[in-house]
């Protein structure tokens, strides 16, 4: 019983073996894992420790042969400290935490996100590509402008493949169509009546909009959304820092991925979060 909890929860020190600018203020990193560990599933996250600075959650963009890929967007001290790190430097990780996306078979897979929400969607995309009986995969990425789009190159190369459709939008029209990614999503849902599942990751208010939109379409059989607008302390379900009301579910352990049925019960969704002190604030 205990095994599950404790597994790998002390920071494991990893070497940064690759680093690149993914887009404005956002860097990709590849970390070398010092030991063999179980494979992470799309939607799970790690706690990233910048020794002497801070520790915070980041999603997993890729994992293969003892290497893990993450993407870090500059926010404050902690993320800046990571962005200042160079190849050869060491950071710690704890994880993998949380419940993953659970893609069913024989549906349209509609991935929609923006900002660092794209990191779990990248791993989900890779995983769907290897999916046996997969249907078509549609990715809807939105950002303020072109230089804020993550994984643009990667996704465009994927687009060559049969099963992937890449819909891209920017608020300022500097790339893709001008507008929110929900525009294309809605268009798709109107034109396509086969069963679809929406996977969303990004700012919670955007996800709330997507959720309300998705509910209008009966062909949307499930929505799975990654709630990342919560303060994460322990990552393994002990501290309640990340709890949502009124269900008492922990983002870090019962989430971060929640499905339609769950999201409907979470009245905090899109509305409230708790700060580091535990006080509730409007999202």
């Amino acid at each position: 019983m205990k095994k599950g909890i404790m597994n790998n929860t002390r920071p494991l020190i990893c070497k940064i073996v690759d680093k690149w600018e993914e887009c404005d203020d956002t860097f990709g990193f590849v970390l070398e894992l010092p030991i063999k560990i179980q494979k992470a599933k799309p939607g799970q996250f790690i706690m990233l420790w910048i020794p002497g600075v801070d520790e915070y959650p980041v999603g997993i963009a890729g994992i293969k042969n003892g290497f893990i890929e993450i993407g870090v967007a500059k926010m404050g001290v902690g993320t800046s400290a990571m962005i200042d790190k160079q190849k050869g430097d060491f950071v710690g990780i704890r994880g993998f935490f949380g419940k993953p996306f659970k893609p069913p078979k024989n549906v349209n897979h509609l991935l929609i996100g923006g900002g660092f929400g794209m990191t779990p969607l990248k791993l989900l995309t890779s995983s769907l590509i290897n999916f046996e009986e997969m249907q078509r995969v549609h990715i809807f990425e939105g950002a303020r402008s072109k230089n804020k789009l993550m994984y643009l190159e990667w996704l465009e190369n994927l687009e060559n493949q049969e099963e992937i459709f890449f819909h891209v939008s920017t608020d300022d029209g500097s790339y893709g169509y001008k507008g929110f990614p929900t525009v294309d999503l809605e268009k798709f849902l109107q034109n396509n009546k086969t069963p679809s599942v929406i996977y969303a990751a990004g700012p919670e208010r955007m996800m709330k909009v997507i959720f309300d939109l998705g509910k209008k379409y009966s062909n949307v059989i499930d929505m799975q959304m990654s709630l990342a607008d919560r303060y994460i302390r322990c990552g393994f379900g002990l501290c309640a820092g990340c709890v949502v009301d009124p269900t008492g579910w922990r983002i870090c352990t019962d989430g971060p991925i929640f499905n339609t049925e769950q999201l409907e019960q979470i009245t905090d969704f899109g509305n409230f979060r708790r700060t580091e002190t535990g006080a509730k604030e409007k999202i």
């Binding site: 205990k2 801070d54 520790e55 008492g248 700060t275």
Partner: protein
């Protein structure tokens, strides 16, 4: 067979209480743990003012010894804000204990006054916060008992100078139950980066390593106080057998912390209860009273 237990005038449906600081920062997670089968729940320690606590990392596990090293730094929203959560929690008749801390007796008095109108089961005074001695404890317990008629539990920390003396001060001033123990001072240094892992550098340890230490503390307290005051055992409980060990040492109830940090805490509570029932059945015990302090017989 009954799992009921009494702590002075308080009757609990079973001896399992959620420990302070564990899933205790919101009404909904406290309610969840009560619904999972706990006999009662203790909130995170609440102070006078909001605190954002220690920088991360604040909590991580040491798998090898099934334990957790942490320093949350008493992050809490302050009693005024937290009252909203408490109102929601007690509306449902959930047996709730509010853990409080404060540097001065004035701070503590203010918190108690602010929360005294709620239908709480008890207050728990967390002494792990500042350096205490019998005199400071006397003052703090004294002011609380002056303000409220609600039961007061005092939570002892093993790092303190002479736990028995501190406990005596608390008991003499009218505290209604002793809770032992809080975390033991600890820290971890990462040798690769040469840095303390905790953001606060120093912290405490909880989980399995605490069991032999906590059992010893409860045993010492029971030896000293006997039936004079109920004792609540805390530290390293993760199965029914651990609960029994604490009861035999003299505890009338127990609190569970670190073990709750699992994917399915509901199952953990059920697993612990099953262990207790199995033991009682095998030993032909009808009532927990038959074994409380049993190691002294």
């Amino acid at each position: 067979m009954s799992l009921e237990t009494n702590l002075g005038d308080i009757k609990l449906k079973n001896p399992l209480i959620l420990a302070s600081g564990i899933l205790g920062a919101s009404y909904s997670s406290l309610q969840r743990m009560y619904d999972a089968g706990m006999g009662a729940v203790v909130t995170k320690s609440i102070g006078k003012n909001p605190r954002s606590g220690s920088p991360n990392p604040t909590i991580f596990a040491l798998v090898e010894i099934k334990s957790i090293v942490s320093s949350v730094g008493l992050a809490n929203p302050g009693y005024k804000t937290f009252k909203e959560d408490l109102v929601k929690l007690t509306e449902k008749q959930t047996p709730a204990i509010v853990s409080i801390f404060g540097e001065t007796k004035e701070d503590i008095g203010e918190i108690i006054e602010g929360l005294n109108d709620l239908p709480l089961l008890a207050f728990e005074l967390n002494l792990g916060y500042s350096k205490e001695n019998p005199k400071t404890v006397q003052e703090k317990v004294g002011i609380i008992k002056q303000i409220t008629n609600k039961p007061l539990w005092v939570k002892l920390t093993p790092d303190e100078c002479n736990v028995i003396k501190i406990a005596e001060a608390a008991v003499n001033c009218g505290c209604n139950a002793l809770v032992a123990i809080n975390k033991v001072k600890a820290m971890v240094i990462d040798i690769k980066t040469k840095q303390p892992v905790l953001g606060a550098k120093k912290g405490g340890i909880s989980g399995s390593v605490l069991k032999p230490i906590g059992v010893r503390c409860v045993y010492d307290l029971y030896e000293h106080f006997g039936d004079k005051i109920p004792i609540i055992g805390v530290g390293g409980i993760s199965k029914g057998e651990d609960v029994i060990e604490y009861l035999l040492a003299g505890a009338s109830a127990v609190q569970i912390g670190s073990a709750v940090g699992v994917a399915y805490p509901e199952n953990m509570v059920r697993f612990i209860q099953m262990g207790i029932r199995k033991y009682l059945r095998e030993q032909n015990i009808e009532n927990l009273d038959e074994i409380i302090g049993g190691a002294f017989k």
